[in-house]
C-alpha cells in the first residue's frame, strides 16, 4: 500500500439524505450561503428508511472514502416511523462494518432537521476532516483489488 500524504488528499464522501429533513437542511445551508467543503455528494431519498445498508458497502466498494446517512430526528419522521428503523439498521450495520475492519469514522449517521443548516455544515466539516485525517480508503475497494 502506497503511503499517502493526507494534506493534499481530497476525500470523496457520499451522503444519503432524506428529502424532508436533512436535504431541506442542506438547502437551507445554501440559502444562508454557509460554506462547507466540496467533498460531499448527496443522494436524495424520500426517507432515511429507504437506505438499504447494502448501498453503504457499495459506496466503499466503488471508491468513496466515507459514507454518511442522515435523516429526521427520531419522532420527526415525515413518515412517522421510518427513521426508527433506520436507527436499528445502521446501529447493526455500523458495528458490522467495524468488525469487518472498516474504520469507525468512515461510516457515520446523523439526525439533521430541515432547520439545522448549521448542524449540516458542521457535520460536513467534521466528517470531511475526520476522513481526510484517515486518508484514502483502500478497504473493500474495487479499484485497489483489481489493480
Amino acid at each position: 500500500m502506497a503511503i499517502t500524504d493526507n494534506t493534499n488528499f481530497e476525500p470523496k464522501i457520499l451522503a444519503f439524505c432524506c428529502n424532508w429533513c436533512t436535504y431541506t437542511g442542506a438547502d437551507l445551508a445554501g440559502l444562508n450561503r454557509m460554506k462547507y467543503p466540496d467533498n460531499i455528494r448527496i443522494i436524495r431519498l424520500p426517507c432515511s428508511g429507504r437506505v438499504n445498508p447494502q448501498f453503504i458497502l457499495r459506496a466503499f466498494q466503488k471508491g468513496y472514502d466515507g459514507v454518511l446517512v442522515c435523516g429526521c430526528h427520531p419522532g420527526d419522521c415525515h413518515y412517522t416511523s421510518g427513521n426508527y428503523f433506520t436507527r436499528r439498521r445502521f446501529l447493526l450495520m455500523k458495528r458490522l462494518l467495524e468488525f469487518a475492519g472498516i474504520e469507525r469514522e468512515r461510516f457515520q449517521a446523523r439526525w439533521i432537521s430541515g432547520s439545522e443548516a448549521g448542524k449540516f455544515r458542521d457535520t460536513i466539516l467534521k466528517v470531511t476532516e475526520e476522513i481526510r485525517a484517515l486518508g484514502p480508503n483502500h478497504r473493500m475497494k474495487e479499484a485497489d483489488i483489481y489493480d
Binding site: 443522494i43 431519498l45 428508511g49 438499504n52 415525515h78
Partner: protein, 659 residues
Amino acid sequence: MARAGVFICHCGSNIASVIDVEQVAKSAEQMTGVVYAATNKYACSISGQEMMKQAIIDHQLDRLVIASCTPRMHETTFRKMLGKTSVNPYMLEVANIREQCSWVHTDKEKATAKAIDLVRMSLAKVLKNQPLFTSSIPVCKKCLVIGGGIAGIQAALDIADGGYEVTLVEREPSLGGKMVMLDKTFPTLDCSACISTPKMAEVGAHPRIKLMSSCEVSAVSGYIGNFEVTIKQNPRYVDHDICTGCGLCEEKCPTKLKSSFDQGLGQRKAIYKLFPQAVPAKPVIDAQHCTKLTKDKCGVCAKVCPLGCINFADQESYTTDTFGAIILATGYQLIDWGSHYPEYGGGAYADVISGLQFERLVNASGPTEGKIKRPSDGAQPKSVAIIKCVGSRDVAKAHGYCSRACCMYAAKHAHQTIEKIAGAQVYIFYIDVRTPGKAYEEFYDRTREDGAVYIRGRVSKIYEENGKLICKGEDTLIGKQVTVEVDLVVLETAMEPAANSGQTAALAGVSADKDGWLTEAHPKLRPVETQSAGVFLCGTAQGPKDIPDTVAQASAAAAKVLGLLAKDELETSPMISAVDTSKCSGCRFCEQVCPVKAISMIDIPSIYNGQKVKRTVAQVNSGLCSGCGACSAACRTGCIDLLGFTNKQILEEVDALWQ
C-alpha cells in the same frame, strides 16, 4: 438507446457566477446517453421552459437532467412542463447545483467539478428511470366527524353548509361536549349554552347531517377518498324514530342518580336526557341503573309512554358506511385529580371541587340554579381559594404540559364569585398567569381590580378544620409560607385526552404523542392534517386549547375536507412501492416496517414441482402507500421496490462517479 438532454441553469448569476456552466454543459455532452446539452439563463422561466420543450422536439429527447436549484423548488414545475411534451414527467432528474453547490462553495474550479459530478449522478439515475403514470381514485363525497363537542359541531356544520353529507358520531346520548356544561365563556362572559345550543339544534335539523348519538366507531379500513367505517350503535332502549321527547317517562321514573352532566352535584333519572336542551331531544335508558334492566322490576316508563317507544330488548347494532374524509374531534376529559393529589384530600372533602363542578354551581340551569353553594351544607361561601395547574405543569405528579385555558377560567371563576357573593374573598394560587388572547389580559386585570388576590405558589396541603378548609402553600414572591382559611376550594384541573381517543385515532392510522394528544402532520404548517391522508383533527383532541382556538381549528379542518371533497377524483403519486411477485417469498418484513399499513399479503396461483399451488406474496395498496421506501430497504431480495427511487437507480447513482 436513451436520448437524454442535459440543461444547466445559470439562475442569473446565482449559479453562473460560481460554476462554469458552459464547462458543465460541455462535459455533459460527452457523457454516455446524452444527445444534447445546453445552458439556460433561467430554466424555470417561460422562455427557459420553451427552450427545453423545443430541444425535446429537435433532438428527440426521451429524458432530462436539469441542473438548477433544489428539486424541492422546481421539480414540480419541470414535471408540469414535461406533461405538455412527449417526455413522461417522471423521466426527469434535477441536479441541485445551486443550494448544494454554487451557494456553498467559493472555489470556482472545485464547484464546477462538483457540479459535473452532480450532473453525472443525476444522469446515471435518469438513465434507469421508467415512465410513471399517475392514477386516480374516486372520492366518496361524505365526511365522518368523530366527536360531537363544539369542535365536531363546527366542523360538521361548515362541511354540510358547503354542500356535502356529514355523519357526526357522538359517544354520549347528546351533542354538546364540554362547552355546553360551562356557564359563561371568557373573556366576554356570554352564556356558553346560549351560544352553543343553537349550533347543536342546527346540527340536529340540518338536512345534510346525519347525527348518530350513543355511537362509537369500531373499525376503519380503506384510504383517502374511500374509508369504510363501521359504527357501533349502543342500545338506547328508546326508539328515537317514534319518540317525540315528551318527557313523561323521565318524569315518572322512580330511580334517581347523580347526574354526570352536573358533575355529580345534581340528579337525574335512570331514563334521561343528558340536559334539557339535549340534541337529539329524546331520552335514553341508563342500563346500569334501570331497575327493569337490572332486576326486571318497575317498567314504569314503558307503561306511561303514549307511543310505545320503550324497548327493553334493544341491542347494540353495527352499520358500515363509506366516507371520503374523517375528522377526529374526540376532545378532552379532566384529570381524575383525586388519585394524583392525596394532599388535597384526594376527593374526601366535599367542598374541594373541580373547575367544571364550579361551572355547574354557577350555572343558572345547574343544580343550584346559579347560586354558589357549598356542596357539603348548601351554605354560601364567603371565601374561596382557586388553585391553578392541578395536574398541569407538574411532571412529578401528573402532566408536564400547560392546559392553556385554566388561567383564564380561573380569573372568570374569581370574577363570578366576587360578582355573586357580596364581600367574598377570593385567593388564586398560580405558577404563572398566561393570557395570550384577544382581550384576555384586560380580563385578568379587571379580575384583580375586582379584588381577587393572586398568590404565586403551589398549594402543598389542604385540610379541614372547624368547618373551614385550610390551604397551606408558599408565596414564592415573598418567599414565605402562606395559609388561607376558606369555605370553598376550586381546583383548575388539567385537560387530558378523552378516554379511548387514542384507540379511535389508531383505527384511522393516527398516532398520539407521549401524553396521548393526537399528532398533527406538521405542528406549524399542517396543523389540522394527520400522517394518514384524508384524516384530519381539530380541537382539544390535538392538545389543550380554549374555545376560540378549537372553533378556528374545526373550521380549518372543515376547509381541508371541503377542498378534498370538491374533487371528483384524487390523483395518486406514482412514486410508490411495487412488488415483483415472482420473487417475493412472503416473509412479511415489508409489512412490519410499513408506517401506513399499505402492505398486505395475498395468495397468488403459482407452479411448484409441476403442481398448481397458492403462494403468499406482498401487495401494495396504492391509495395508502406514501412512498417512503422503508419496505424496499427491508426486503432482502429487493423484490419490493420504490418506483422513482428503485434499488437500481440508487446503485447507479452510487456508482456514477467511479466508472
